[in-house]
Symmetry: C3
Subunit: 154 residues, 3 copies
């Protein structure tokens, strides 16, 4: 493991903070986007969220909508991929990698996830979404490899 | 970024540890609450989880139940909001903010999520749940703003 | 809270890095496993993911499949349990626990989650999955207890 001086004052940790925050914000924005489609298409998951009309009309608003489900699947995929990136990326940043190598990992991951979101929500034809997902996975695996080879303690 | 001395021995990091742990425990408790409603209403997602009665009766236990789904939606919303808080909050705590400012953020977030859970599970009439969700989002955005303005390194 | 020297160079933090990375990789592998069952059973969630055959045949591939849903439920349970472990475990590692005690917690958790995945995907008869889930929960609660008793700052 790296010296502690590598951690906070280092450009690597600042780079990690920047990219981790940006990609986390990107993930969070899918929450309001889900709400946007719920209001636009008048589709809700809870009776207390419906509004306007009679009770009968409001009951019909409790249904599944393709637009809403698409954004929710994208959000779920973000949870499944971005959170592992943050966990492994933090540990990776603490192993004291080269700055250029770290930046390459962080930029590849954040770029691939932005493309993934565009490809999912638009949607773009495959394999754009599949490829962006694979690039993100490989980036995280590569960082995990360095963590395990640098700091293995079982 | 702050000096390393700010990190571990500081009251800010202890405050972060305390609030992050509390809100993570709150999130985890929705797991047992889901199990509680599954057993109470005899509703399961897997055939091997059912018990009692004939195979026919057990097959009928594999269905969707409003109580269980409500708790699960609340749990999902927690994952989508509390985990970003923990990630951004950790980086925020490392930027060396004022203790009073940090405590305000942490308390607002944890308070808003406790109200959110109550509003979802009871359920309380809207806009109680929507407002508590928005307060949590704004708190996390505010911390992300400080991280990006203090430690930007692209 | 522990001295900073306890954090990076210490065996506890290396042990945490190792086990957190391993269990995060285990969680990530459920993504490709979901894809595997989607291709094997020709079941997709998005129209643009389907392939082969006429439009009518491709529309029929948009459905819910028991194998795919089982892996997805396992993945969701991992998100709900492994992420809290990583958050609480990181803070726990910073409280400077005994190495043997920390290793016990990390090994118990990672072992229990590996058994949980096996029990879910095979599936094994209950209560194997329920027990492995409970062991993981108790391990995380035990670490949270130490964090809150060592570093409480409200």
């Amino acid at each position: 493991m790296a010296e502690i001086a590598h951690m906070i004052d280092s450009e690597i940790f600042m780079a990690f903070s920047t990219y981790a925050t940006i990609v986390t914000l990107k993930m969070m924005l899918l929450g309001p986007m889900t709400s946007y489609f719920r209001f636009k298409n008048k589709v809700f998951a809870n009776m207390e969220d419906t509004f306007g009309g009679t009770t009968e009309q409001r009951k019909k608003m409790i249904r599944v909508d393709p637009d809403v489900e698409r954004v929710r699947r994208c959000h779920q995929n973000d949870l499944e991929n971005i959170i592992p990136f943050v966990v492994v990326g933090l540990l990776y940043a603490l192993t004291g990698p080269d700055l250029s190598s770290a930046l390459l990992h962080f930029r590849l991951f954040v770029g691939s996830r932005c493309i993934h979101t565009l490809a999912y929500v638009m949607p773009l034809p495959q394999p754009s979404r599949a490829l962006s997902w694979v690039v993100g996975m490989i980036t995280t695996f590569s960082m995990a490899y360095r963590v395990l080879t640098t700091a293995l303690y079982l």
